[in-house]
């Protein structure tokens, strides 16, 4: 049995077989919550490989697009963050967003807005993926 299927089965047993037999309200709530958490973990686990690949693909395209948009602007912080974001994870994406806001004056309003708009496309896509198992 695949790990995500195992978690789902445990969640179902907790929700439908164990939880209803628990008399204490606090323990009953805990059993229900454990079931909810396992269901979410199962979905997250099932989607992990696809999501990680999508994240990598999105980041590579994002960095290409942003390097083009930065152009010759004197924004060394953003350039450095872009280098890290190409191969990095969420932490590097955070540093890129931080660098963008920190470099706002150097970039100018128009370029800043264009870069922010572009990075938000990637953030939106990542958020949508997270919502597949969070909501």
């Amino acid at each position: 049995m695949a790990p995500d299927e195992l978690l789902e089965q445990i969640a179902a047993i907790l929700r439908h077989e164990i939880g209803p037999t628990v008399a204490d309200p606090f323990a009953k709530t805990q059993a229900f919550m454990a079931s909810v958490i396992l269901e979410k973990l199962a979905r997250q686990l099932r989607l992990t490989d696809d999501h990680e690949q999508a994240d990598r693909d999105e980041r590579a395209t994002l960095v290409d697009d942003m390097e083009r948009l930065v152009g010759t602007a004197p924004a060394s912080g953003v350039r450095a963050a872009l280098t890290g974001a190409r191969t990095g994870g969420q932490g590097e994406m955070c540093r890129l967003v931080e660098a963008l806001y920190a470099g706002r004056d150097e970039l100018g309003t128009e370029r800043f807005d264009a870069l922010l708009g572009r990075i938000r496309l990637t953030l939106r896509a990542g958020l949508d993926r997270q919502l597949e198992y969070s909501s």
Partner: protein
């Protein structure tokens, strides 16, 4: 603290914690006597009433913050029988917002508000000695009234019925007016900290919740960084300072005879922009399946009554800003809550569950930011 969740749920108010746990007895005193006996002994001493008895002791779980007990104390004073309804709140040391929700501060706020028109429970005692109940606690008046949860079916029906009668909606708005027109300096509340002019208030709030997020040790999130960046760059000017409750909505207000009998949950109050509270009232997060603000008040009626009562025009741009700030605050709550579980400081699985609420709140914030 009972924070509304942007994914359509709230921190539970009625899933009682187990009574027989070490936490319920108080783990630090070595005193294994039942909690009721220890509370009674304390009150015997403080009220100087050797015959004091407790009746109707009930432990309730209000949100995930302080542990709460309700009871009546009865004793004889100069030959006359006395009864005082009391509420005791104890700091368990591992609750949500532990870093920000200080019982000593709450007690002081209640002391300052007692002589004012803002309806609040009268504070009786604040005890720091852990030998008494294992942790600091405060004792305050048990104010008559009920506090239906607006998220349950019964609560929604309660507020819908009250909205139809029309008295409670006015009381809801009038109490907020009382809060925002209070002379907080005269009440001695400037110890809460007074922001400087201009954008200082909003920036201080952003910094406060940012610190909580950092303390949670939660994985970084780029959408949250974007939200914080936007909030820091767009902080509104604050022309007028008021006492801001920080979570003014049904569910945090005690109701008796169709009127607000007490404003509860003094955990996020601050001296700041009154629009911070107004934004919370206007938020569609604080109503469910109804256009009524906080499940209770018609929007137009709220605007008219609030603006007439305070002389403050509701600033929509500022409210939009503060609603995004509330999104950041919700993220801070849920990161902090799940962090308590992840670090083993609290074993309540409801806290662990909140980790999955973070993307849901951020989704909403991203939509408000236009993506």
């Amino acid at each position: 603290m009972s924070e509304h969740r942007s994914d359509g749920a709230v921190a539970p108010k009625n899933a009682s914690a187990p009574e027989n746990t070490a936490a319920a007895r108080g783990p630090c005193t070595g005193d294994e006597r039942p909690m009721n006996d220890r509370i009674r002994d304390y009150l015997v001493d403080r009220f100087e009433a050797p015959d004091l008895k407790l009746r109707g002791v009930e432990r309730i779980a209000v949100g995930w913050s302080h542990e709460t007990w309700l009871f009546d104390a009865t004793w004889t004073e100069t030959g006359v029988a006395r009864t005082q309804g009391l509420c005791l709140r104890r700091d368990p040391g591992n609750a949500l917002l532990r870093e920000m929700s200080d019982l000593a501060l709450q007690y002081r706020v209640l002391q300052c508000l007692e002589p004012t028109v803002v309806p609040t429970p009268r504070p009786f005692f604040f005890e720091t000695d852990p030998a008494v109940l294992g942790a600091p606690f405060l004792v305050m008046e048990k104010v008559p009234g009920t506090c239906p949860s607006p998220w349950g079916r019964d609560g929604r029906q309660f507020y819908q019925d009250a909205a139809g009668r029309g008295v409670l909606p006015d009381s809801f708005t009038d109490t907020l007016v009382a809060l925002h027109t209070l002379d907080w300096r005269a009440a001695g509340l400037d110890f809460l900290g007074v922001p400087g002019p201009g954008r200082d208030f909003a920036r201080l709030e952003v910094a406060k919740w940012k610190a909580l997020i950092e303390a949670s040790e939660h994985d970084p999130d780029p959408v949250l960084i974007d939200l914080i960046g936007w909030l820091e760059a767009n902080a509104p000017q604050t022309d007028r300072l008021a006492l801001v409750h920080g979570a003014y909505r049904t569910g945090n207000l005690l109701i008796h005879d169709d009127r607000i009998s007490a404003v509860l949950d003094w955990e996020t109050q601050v001296i700041g922009d009154p629009m911070y509270d107004v934004a919370y009232v206007l938020s569609d997060l604080n109503r469910e399946g109804t256009e009524l603000l906080s499940n209770l008040v018609e929007r137009d009626a709220f605007y008219r009554r609030y603006e007439a009562g305070t002389g403050i025009a509701i600033d929509h741009e500022a409210c939009r800003y503060y609603q995004l700030l509330y999104a950041m605050r919700s993220v801070a709550f849920w990161m902090s809550a799940s962090g308590l579980f992840a670090t083993g400081r609290n074993r309540d699985l409801r806290l662990a569950r909140t980790a999955w609420s973070v993307p849901v709140v951020l989704d909403r914030a991203a939509r408000d930011l236009g993506y």
